[in-house]
C-alpha cells in the first residue's frame, strides 16, 4: 500500500516537473508562442466559416444541428493545435535520433516510452493552459453558447474520452517514431501518417460524411478514437449504447496500442543506432 502511494507520489512529482518543462518549452520563443495562438484563432475561424457555409448549402446532409457542427469544428481546431500532433513524439524521436542526442534520453532511469509520454504530456498540458484555454475563451466570447458541450454529462464524458484519445495518439506517434529508428528517415512515413490521421481521425471531416466502405474502415481502425469519438460525445451526437460502444472501441484499441508500443520498443531497442561519435 505504502509503496503504491510512493509510486503515485513519484508519478505526480514527475508529471509536475514535466509540466514545468512544457511551460518552459512553450514560452521559450516568444514569437513562436504568439504565432501558435494566432494559428489557433485562424484555424478556428476557418473551421467555423467552412461548416457554416456548408450547412447553409445543404442542411439536410448534417446529422447534427448547425451549432453542434460549429462546436465540433471549434473544439477540433483547438484540440489539434493544443496536441500539436504533427510535431508529437514521432517528431521528437526523429529529431533526437538524427542529432544523436537520443543518448540523453536513454541515460535516464525511466523507461523510454514513459519518458516521452511524460514530456509530451507536459508540453500538451502547458499548451492547453497557454493556448487552448485562451482560444476557447475567445471563441466562446465571439460565438456564445454554440461552442458549449451538449450537456454537463456530455462534457465530462468528452473529457474522459479525450484522455483516452491522448494516450492513443501518443502510442500511434511513438510507433511511427520507431519506424524512424529503423529507416533513419522520417519524412515519407510522417506524410503518410499525417494523411491517415487527417482523414480517418475525423479531425477535419466527421465520419458521418464518409461513403459506406470508407466509413466501415474508419470505424474499425483506431484513428476515429482520437478525434471523432470525443468530439461526437462533446456535441451530443453520441449517446446511450452507441456512446458506450465507442468508448469500448477506444479502450480496447488503447490496450492493443500499449502492448504494441511495449513490444516494438523491446525489439527496436536492440537495433538502436546512435548517430555520431
Amino acid at each position: 500500500m505504502s509503496s503504491a502511494t510512493a509510486t503515485v507520489g513519484r508519478q505526480v512529482t514527475l508529471m509536475r516537473a514535466f509540466l514545468r518543462y512544457g511551460i518552459e518549452q512553450q514560452t521559450a520563443y516568444r514569437a513562436a508562442y504568439w504565432a501558435h495562438l494566432w494559428n489557433t484563432a485562424v484555424k478556428v475561424f476557418a473551421f467555423v466559416v467552412v461548416w457554416r457555409t456548408l450547412y447553409a448549402v445543404a442542411p439536410d446532409q448534417f446529422p447534427v444541428s448547425r451549432s453542434q457542427m460549429v462546436a465540433y469544428g471549434v473544439v477540433a481546431a483547438i484540440t489539434s493545435e493544443v496536441l500539436d500532433w504533427w510535431k508529437g513524439p514521432h517528431y521528437y524521436i526523429a529529431y533526437r535520433v538524427q542529432l544523436g542526442t537520443i543518448t540523453g534520453d536513454l541515460l535516464r532511469p525511466i523507461s523510454f516510452p514513459f519518458q516521452l509520454f511524460a514530456i509530451w504530456t507536459g508540453e500538451s498540458a502547458a499548451a492547453l493552459l497557454l493556448v487552448g484555454v485562451p482560444a476557447f475563451g475567445g471563441a466562446a466570447v465571439v460565438l456564445g453558447g454554440a461552442v458549449a458541450p451538449a450537456g454537463v454529462l456530455a462534457g465530462l464524458l468528452a473529457v474522459l474520452s479525450f484522455v483516452v484519445s491522448f494516450a492513443m495518439l501518443f502510442c500511434c506517434s511513438f510507433l511511427v517514431g520507431l519506424v524512424v529508428l529503423k529507416t533513419l528517415n522520417l519524412l515519407g512515413v510522417m506524410h503518410l501518417y499525417h494523411g491517415v490521421l487527417t482523414l480517418l481521425s475525423g479531425f477535419w471531416i466527421p465520419l458521418w460524411f464518409f461513403p459506406a466502405p470508407l466509413r466501415l474502415l474508419a470505424d474499425v481502425l483506431p484513428f476515429r478514437g482520437i478525434f471523432f469519438t470525443p468530439l461526437s460525445i462533446y456535441v451530443g451526437e453520441l449517446t446511450g449504447t452507441r456512446l458506450e460502444l465507442a468508448l469500448l472501441h477506444q479502450v480496447v484499441w488503447l490496450g492493443l496500442l500499449i502492448l504494441a508500443v511495449r513490444w516494438a520498443w523491446a525489439v527496436m531497442r536492440r537495433r538502436l543506432v546512435v548517430q555520431g561519435g
Binding site: R10, T13, L14, R16, A17, F18, R20, Y21, E24, Q25, A28, Y29, L99, G100, T101, T103, G104, L106, L107, R108, P109, I110, S111, R269, R270, L272, V273, V274, G276, G277
Partner: protein, 337 residues
C-alpha cells in the same frame, strides 16, 4: 570484484553501402547493399572502485561505442559487461541511477530549458532527496562556476559552459561511476584545467569511479591512474600512465626555428631529429625527465641563432601510432641537420 567488468565486448554497425555513380545509387534504393563495420572487437578490461581510467585510441578506434555499450545505450553483439554489478542492457534503468555520463560533443540536456530548470527536472527524474540535492547543487555550482549560468537556456551556452552544465547534470544524483567521453574537447586551457580539477576533487570527495576518453595527453597525465589503449576495436595495451608514457612516448618535442640557414652544422646530444623541413627548421625528440629538455634547449640557445623555440608533448596519436607500429621510440643517435 571489479566495479566495471568488460569481457570480450563486441559491437558491429551495419551500414548501407551507397553505389558509386548515379545509376548504382538509384539501384541501391531498391536493392540495398550492406556492409558491417566492426567498431568494437573483443575488448576486455576491469576497473576497480575509485579508479580514474583513461580510455584512448585514435579516431574511430571504438571508444565512444564502448562507452555507449557500458552505459546501456547500445546493445552489444557479444561479450559480457557488468557495471556496478548490473547488466547494462537488462538492468538499464537500475544502472542509470548509478552512473553519470557526459558526451563532450553532444549535450544530454534539454535544449530550450534553462540550466536551473534542467537540474530541477533531473532531481525529479532521479528522485534526489531535497536536502542532498541542495548540498550537491551548491558544491557543483561552486566547483564548476555555474552561478551565472543557471538562468540561461542550454541552447545559449557556449561549448565550455555547456560541458560544465553537462558535468554537473551527470553528477547531480551522486553516481558511483562516471563515463566521460571527451569531456575536454574544444575547451580553452582555463576551462580544461577547471574540468580536470573538478574530476579530481569529486573523485577525492566521493570516491567515484571514472572512465575517461580523451585525445589530450595532459588529461591523462594529470588525471588518470591507469590507461587502456585500443585500436580498431581491440585492446592494445593496458597499464599505468607512467608505464605507457615511459614505453611509448618517452620524449618531449622541441621545435626550433633558426634565424639563418645552418644546414649540416647542428649536432645536439641527447636528442633525436624527427623532422627537418629545411635548413631553418628542426624538430627534436628529447627524453622525458632528468632535465634533458632543459639541457637541449640551453644547448641550442647557446650555440645557434634561434628565432623561435617550442616544447610540446607528444600527442596521443603519436602514442597510438608508436604502439601500433610496435616501435620502441628510444632516442639512439644524436640529432643533426
Amino acid at each position: 570484484m571489479a566495479l566495471i567488468e568488460v569481457r570480450e565486448l563486441s559491437k558491429a554497425f551495419r551500414v548501407r553501402r551507397p553505389g558509386s555513380g548515379a545509376r548504382a545509387k538509384v539501384a541501391r534504393m531498391f536493392h540495398p547493399a550492406y556492409e558491417t563495420r566492426q567498431a568494437v572487437d573483443g575488448v576486455s578490461f576491469d576497473i576497480d572502485g575509485g579508479e580514474i581510467v583513461g580510455y584512448l585510441g585514435a579516431n574511430g578506434a571504438g571508444k565512444s561505442t564502448t562507452v555507449k555499450c557500458l552505459a546501456g545505450i547500445l546493445v552489444p553483439d557479444g561479450g559480457t559487461v557488468r557495471v556496478a554489478g548490473l547488466d547494462p542492457v537488462r538492468e538499464r534503468i537500475r544502472l542509470a541511477r548509478r552512473i553519470g555520463v557526459v558526451f563532450g560533443q553532444k549535450t544530454a540536456l534539454w535544449w530550450d530549458l534553462p540550466v536551473a530548470e534542467t537540474f530541477t527536472l533531473l532531481r525529479a527524474i532521479y528522485e534526489v532527496p531535497p536536502d542532498r540535492y541542495r548540498t550537491t547543487l551548491d558544491t557543483l555550482t561552486e566547483l564548476l562556476g555555474l552561478a551565472d549560468l543557471l538562468h540561461i537556456p542550454v541552447r545559449q551556452l557556449s561549448l565550455g559552459q555547456r560541458v560544465r552544465a553537462d558535468l554537473a547534470a551527470a553528477f547531480l544524483h551522486g553516481p558511483d561511476v562516471l563515463f566521460l567521453d571527451e569531456p575536454t574537447i574544444g575547451l580553452d586551457a582555463m576551462v580544461k584545467s577547471n574540468v580536470r580539477r573538478f574530476i579530481k576533487d569529486i573523485r577525492t570527495a566521493s570516491g567515484v569511479t571514472v572512465l575517461l576518453t580523451t585525445h589530450d595527453l595532459a588529461d591523462l597525465e594529470q588525471l588518470c591512474d591507469r590507461l587502456v589503449i585500443i585500436d580498431r576495436g581491440r585492446v592494445l595495451f593496458a597499464g599505468s600512465v607512467e608505464e605507457t608514457l615511459h614505453r611509448f612516448a618517452p620524449y618531449v618535442r622541441v621545435m626550433v626555428e633558426f634565424a639563418e640557414d645552418i644546414a649540416g652544422s647542428v649536432r645536439v646530444p641527447q636528442a633525436r631529429a624527427t623532422a627537418t623541413a629545411d635548413g631553418r627548421h628542426l624538430t627534436l625528440e628529447v627524453p622525458r625527465g632528468d632535465g634533458a629538455a632543459a639541457a637541449v634547449t640551453s644547448y641550442l640557445l647557446d650555440r645557434f641563432p634561434v628565432r623561435d623555440l617550442r616544447l610540446t608533448d607528444p600527442s596521443i596519436e603519436d602514442v597510438v601510432r608508436v604502439l601500433y607500429e610496435g616501435a620502441s621510440g628510444a632516442p639512439d643517435e644524436p640529432a643533426h641537420v
